[in-house]
Amino acid sequence: MLRERILKGIAVSQGIAQGKVFIYETKQVEVFQTPILPVYLKDETERFDRAIKKTKHELRNIQKRLNYEIGENFAQFLDAQIMMLSDKAIIRKVKARIAEEKLNAEYVYHNVIGEYAEKLGASKDTYLKERVADIWDVGSRVLRNLLGLTHSSVVEIPTGSIIVAHDISPSEAALINPKSVLGIATEAGGRTSHTAITARALEIPAVLGIKGLIGKIENGEKVILDGDRGIMIKNPSAGKIHFYEIAKKKVLELAKVLSPFSELPAKTQDGRRIDISANIEFFSEYTHAKKYGAEGIGLFRTEFLYLTRRGSPTEEEQYRVYDALAKRMKPCPVIIRTYDLGGDKIFSDYREANPFLGWRAIRVCLDELDFFKMQLRAILRASVNKNVKIMFPMISNHEEVKRIHLVFEKVKKELRAKKIDFDEEIQFGIMIETPSAALLSPHLAHQVDFFSIGSNDLTQYTLAVDRGNEKISQLFEHFHPAVLQLIKQIIDAGHQTHIWVGLCGELAADPLAIPLLIGMGIDELSMNPGSIPRAKMVVRAITIPECEEIAKGALNFRTPLEVKRYLRRNIHRKFPGIDKVIK
């Protein structure tokens, strides 16, 4: 019996897959030198022209598909690829050298592309260096067309496969068929890579960034891919297989029970409506939000616009995404959160010792005003749709909110002067995710239209625990009494000033937390689209007075364990129907 091995990577797309490994290698296209007789030189150049034309046609088709499935902003890398392909200087050079050297088109083209790739690879700039992959992505496509080879083995992958690769090029990732591919594992890439975004859009599990993956795995072997925990299990033991089979079965059964709830309103037994909305990271996820019955977008994380294109999107590009999202979600609200980026993501030479306590999010934006104002203009312009709200992350003091107001009003004034329309009534909200903002919430409430509690960061900052650190991650506890006390204070402060209070973070989707939060008076819960049916099911099973009773008792405990035990007991007693969705 072979020993079980667990290969760790980055969890980028949820779900569990059991299947056969299909090692996908982007094989270098082999090219041979063949002399061409002078009479055939014209044919040779024409053959080259046809290959370029065919390749352009293929890329346009991929782009159309991506525009439709994921969104225009994402498919822009194909614009650059199409331009590389149709670059006249290269085409001219290739044709001249075919005539001069009397050699075959593929050989000459391969050399010319190789020369450019080499120059680019020598660049000091890491971004440009990475474009070498783009050049070869396009170049190999042309070469395969010249040689009459079929592309993308991705399309031909047998049903029931888990793709294992070093990396998958963007144009290849776009062709992955979710009917045959059960999961994706790669050595390269991270949360913002094209492969990650494609996997999430297709709702197939993916674990990326597994070091040395290809050397450790063989074609055809059976593995388990766990996109929730970010691991791939090689030679899984009978126990593990059983564990995952049961887990998968449970997920499927539960999904069946819960799916009807996506269509139903989130209304408690005694008739109170709770807004259940979705947290999304990129544009096309609005389809998931709708599919699972979200009543709005509670958090649109704009940093992905920035990270996926590795640079600041222009005002126009941002506007197009925000506007399209607002239009597709109408009449439901869309809350756009301004960049929550670490300084190191924006300035490649910036490093700091404590990024989570450092120059990030609103702190960067208030220092880099041009950058910030560009985003504010784009959001304001999209607000003509009347369903856009704006929200600012990582607030830790009163002055920040004051300064944001000043900048925001200035941008509005500039737009008015240019006669550019926007929603004058646009709601202005802040995230409460630092203990200082939570404690100051009675004051902050006077300055804003709503609060959104970022429970993940609030927990991390309140407990001083980095959940990414394995040695202490067990200390990270949403149900810590200190965190719950702050949440209660924030909600009370908001309501005393008559503003609404939402919560986005994992707590919002936790069936154990929902009755408690509703009992504390929360107005909105925003979560992963996939968790929405379950949350609606919980909301529809409860009544307000009983939740209030639960909330009253929940704040009297000393430890997270005591809180959870109390919640379990009381939910079981008052709302036994929810039991089956509580772990």
């Binding site: 670059d87 006249k88 783009d134 950058f371």
Partner: protein, 85 residues
């Protein structure tokens, strides 16, 4: 002929997307467009050429436009290099 050294002020340098905007715009003009950096000269209508120049933010390139619409071309193209488009 209009010829002038310019500093790249575009936030991320002349990367794939600004470079492709540059080429698209350059192609609208009849005049010859060239970019020169540290002794290497490339056509301003070739995205691959521009990328290989590796124009980071803060570097200096010489933009040359030569032909009947050179003035308008220069004016429009410099905006992209200076990040004002």
């Amino acid at each position: 002929m209009v010829k002038k050294p310019l500093e790249i002020l575009n936030e991320n340098g002349l990367h794939a997307l600004p470079a492709s905007r540059f080429v698209k715009l350059a192609e609208k003009f009849d005049c010859n467009v060239t970019l020169e950096k540290e002794g290497v000269e490339v056509s301003g209508k070739s995205i691959m050429g521009i990328l290989t120049l590796a124009c980071e933010k803060g570097s200096t390139v010489t933009l040359t436009c030569e032909g009947k619409d050179e003035k308008e071309a220069f004016k429009a193209l410099r905006k992209i290099l200076e990040g004002q488009d």
